[in-house]
């Protein structure tokens, strides 16, 4: 099959939608999705890192020696993660306080290293850019989906605004860690009912 930009971009939204199709990068999915705001912050940070690491790795793939490729990828990914962390602290302090350590943990998010190894190191720059952006935005949407369910059921709010009726008793289980697993599992099962293509 011929590779087109559109295909590489769109596959991140359904065909290999992370984290449901590619069951990778579950740590942020489970940890930060207690509120929609955090989900958006985490998703966009990951997208930024994924896009730039894919572009840079793809553009220097020919000069990186095979034996030290993983080390090189990690240096590049870590650089962008620290940039995100600093910029977020400077301009979005409240979100950076909420996400805390999980921003730094983007370095070890398997999705990013996975795309670098499986895609960016073998494909031209423009396809890698489309791949990074698509996967990143797909990941963001998934985080928004999970955090919307968890925030509405667990706190009765959406982006901090009250959406449930007044006497709604928050289902606190949903914002605790076991709730994250249950929610992820149910969506995973639901999505797998539908074919990939």
């Amino acid at each position: 099959m011929k590779k087109t930009i559109a295909h590489e971009f769109l596959k991140g939204f359904w065909e290999i939608l992370p984290p449901f199709r590619l069951v990778l990068g579950l740590c942020p999915v489970l940890a930060v999705t207690t509120a929609v705001e955090n989900g958006i912050g985490m998703g966009l940070s990951t997208t930024f890192v994924l896009f730039f690491s894919n572009v840079i790795i793809s553009s220097i793939k020919k000069i990186i020696p095979k034996k030290v490729r993983i080390a090189s990828y990690i240096i590049i990914i870590a650089t962008f993660v620290v940039i995100v962390e600093l910029v977020m602290k400077a301009y979005f302090f409240s979100i950076s306080k909420q996400l805390g350590l999980f921003i730094n943990l983007i370095v070890v998010n398997c999705i990013i290293l996975g795309r670098a190894e499986a895609f960016a190191s073998k494909n031209p720059i423009y396809l890698s850019a489309a791949d990074g952006l698509g996967i990143g935005l797909g990941f963001t949407l998934s985080l928004i989906l999970i955090s919307t369910i968890r925030e509405i059921l667990g706190k009765g709010t959406f982006l901090g605004m009250q959406v449930m009726w007044n006497s709604y008793e928050p289902f606190a289980f949903m914002v605790s860690a076991p709730g994250a697993f249950v929610c992820l599992g149910l969506i995973l099962a639901l999505i797998n009912l539908f074919p990939k293509k």
Partner: protein, 191 residues
Amino acid sequence: MREYIRMVAVLTAIAAVCGLLLAAVKKGTEKRIEEQILVNVQGPALNNVLASSTNDIIQDREEITVDQEIKIVFLGKKNGQIWAIAFEMTAMGYKGKIGVMVGFDLEKDRLTGIGILTHQETPGLGARVSEPIFTNNFKDRVISEIFKVKKDNGTIDAVSGATISSRAVCSAVEQSIVLYSAIKDQVVKKK
């Protein structure tokens, strides 16, 4: 051999470029991050311990040198007159350093109150030292009092199950009283 040299050269080059880039970003965001921390971390505690001030406390801060160390002191003013000062003091808690903002009334030599800025104490136990029920222990107390938890024959009600964290806060307050006595004259002179 050539392969090894190439590996070393490429990795060094990548690390150098990344390092340079990070240094630039760090430099560019440093000032703003400092401000954000002042507004978001120090700010609420300052507004609490120097509550009746009429000035912008964060803007009115001064660096005072004590024993060759620079300490940032926040000044609370009423009608243009400095009535109280506050500064941060840290002490070792159960898991890490606890940062305590301590406010002093210059005229009455009293604590105006304290606020916990940063800590890594156990949630539900030690972390409760940041709650008003504990910090109110220090409100409006004369500085000549001895600030110790009741277990150590003091007067402070420790958070139950968190004696170590409570002790740490007490020791931060006691240290800050020593510092306050040392710098009070410097501050008064500047008025």
